[in-house]
């Protein structure tokens, strides 16, 4: 059976409700999802609806089940986390053609600013997608980002330049220790801003250190600031070269000249 793109796109609803017919149809749609940012964001929104429907169906489970599950869990080995050598960056592509591109960039910056100010934690991408898919959200987002940008400019000119750049890319990835690293990348000027949210606190004598990990050399960006309410203040890095990844490692206090531990996140930087 042949599917045209348009057909595939309208399958977002059926997919989110687990209502596709066969494994082959599911894998075909999964492939499409990996290429279609607007479909992926739509699916995430629909899954929220499905979640509400599941909660609405709440029923009392047999009481004896609890003990059986707990006993089984105590005897079941947990899967280790996936160590991703290639982090999956989430590009804020221009895949929503009905929204003017500039609005998308403004929404991106609005979300980025929101992250830095601690309004959002792990929901950046869904907030971003919501913002992009809901045109009416843009008006207030735009007002907010303008206000925040003015504020940010007073704080840090470099930060404001990147957040205000017309071409930013928002990347985020969870770290192997938990928490999320969020990067706003301005490929044109080869600069980025990075902040983190929800990273576990380190024991005394240990710090998080940021790196640009390139194919040829590894350069220290500096130490990650101490988190305030789980969110770190933004750090600016410049001089990104093709092939660089943004890495984060745990180092002894004061930092190291080169990484001494395995990065807990390594985000490829598309420049």
């Amino acid at each position: 059976m042949r599917f045209f793109r348009q057909d595939l796109h309208t399958l977002t609803g059926a997919y989110a409700l687990d209502a596709l017919d066969s494994a082959s149809e599911i894998s075909r749609f999964n492939r499409h999802l990996s290429r279609c940012q607007s479909c992926a964001s739509e699916v995430r929104g629909f899954r929220e609806v499905a979640t509400a429907m599941a909660f609405a169906a709440t029923a009392e489970a047999p009481a004896a089940m609890r003990e059986r599950v707990m006993t089984a869990a105590a005897r079941t080995r947990q899967l280790p986390p996936e160590i991703r050598t290639h982090a999956r960056p989430r590009r804020t592509g221009r895949s929503a053609p009905w929204i003017p591109w500039l609005s998308g960039a403004i929404a991106t910056a609005a979300i980025a600013v929101a992250v830095f100010f601690g309004f959002a934690q792990s929901h950046t991408q869904s907030e971003l997608n919501q913002a992009r898919s809901q045109n009416r959200a843009l008006a207030s987002a735009q007002a907010r980002v303008e206000a925040e940008l003015t504020q940010a400019k007073e704080h840090d000119q470099a930060l404001a330049q990147i957040l205000g750049a017309p071409h930013v890319t928002l990347l985020s990835h969870s770290t192997t220790k938990g928490g999320v690293a969020v990067v706003v990348l301005d490929a044109a000027t080869r600069k980025l801003v990075v902040a983190t949210s929800g990273l576990p606190a380190l024991p005394a004598g240990k710090v998080y250190q940021l790196w640009l990990i390139g194919p040829v050399k590894i350069v220290s960006v500096g130490l990650l600031p101490t988190a305030q309410a789980g969110v770190t203040t933004p750090v600016v890095a410049a001089g990104i070269v093709k092939g660089d990844k943004l890495g984060l490692t745990v180092e002894p206090a004061g930092g190291s000249k080169q990484p001494t531990t395995t990065p807990i996140v390594a985000l490829p930087l598309p420049v």
Binding site: G13, A19, L20, A52, A57, L79, A110
Partner: protein, 198 residues
């Protein structure tokens, strides 16, 4: 609510945050590290929706119990694979639950009796009526389902609660495949907006 909040954040606060989803995310992080106490708390928070949605799809209580146990054990086993960037913990858990229920009917239902099973599904209006309870979730979902057109509502409930594929839904409602895909999608867009503006 802060009038400056975007619709996007209002949507999130209206759904995910009301269920304390951030706490659930944290719990899941602890579960991933082997914390059984955290797993017990997570179990108590999620067993109702997990068992409920499976029961809705499978109907049979003992089969539902079996699948719910498998799902909750899978949550324990695979907690480290949870990626908060892809959605909240509640969504992750209920998605596994619904998928396992669907896997069960799709694998155990031979093509021959598939017709029979789909014919057994109660009218979606019963699904809506059943949902009328004091629970805020039920009330909101019911209200939002009622705001859909009849075909949208029937398509969504037959698919999600009835466990039918969109082809089966098309067959049941006697409309084309293209129309069903569109109606499910349009209905979900309306549901999303409706659940967002509480």
């Amino acid at each position: 609510m802060n009038p400056n909040d975007s619709d996007a954040s209002r949507f999130r606060s209206a759904t995910a945050d009301r269920r304390g989803e951030r706490d659930l995310d944290d719990l899941l992080v602890h579960v991933a590290r082997g914390d059984q106490g955290a797993f017990e708390t997570l179990y108590d928070r999620m067993v109702g929706p997990v068992y409920g949605v499976i029961r809705k799809v499978l109907r049979d209580p003992s089969q539902s119990e079996e699948v719910a146990q498998e799902v909750l054990l899978e949550v324990w086993r695979t907690a480290a694979r949870f990626d908060p960037a892809m959605g909240g913990a509640a969504t992750w858990v209920t998605t596994i639950a619904h998928r396992r229920a669907i896997d069960r009917i799709r694998s155990t239902t031979a093509a021959a009796d598939r017709e029979h099973r789909t014919a057994d599904v109660s009218p979606p209006h019963d699904e809506v009526a059943e949902a009328v309870e004091a629970s805020l979730d039920r009330e909101r979902v019911r209200r939002c389902l009622e705001g859909l057109t009849e075909v949208q509502r029937e398509s969504i409930t037959l698919a999600y609660y009835g466990g039918n594929s969109y082809r089966q839904v098309a067959e049941l409602l006697n409309v084309t495949l293209g129309a069903i895909k569109t109606r499910i999608r349009d209905g979900l867009i309306r549901m999303r907006d409706c659940l967002g503006v509480s």
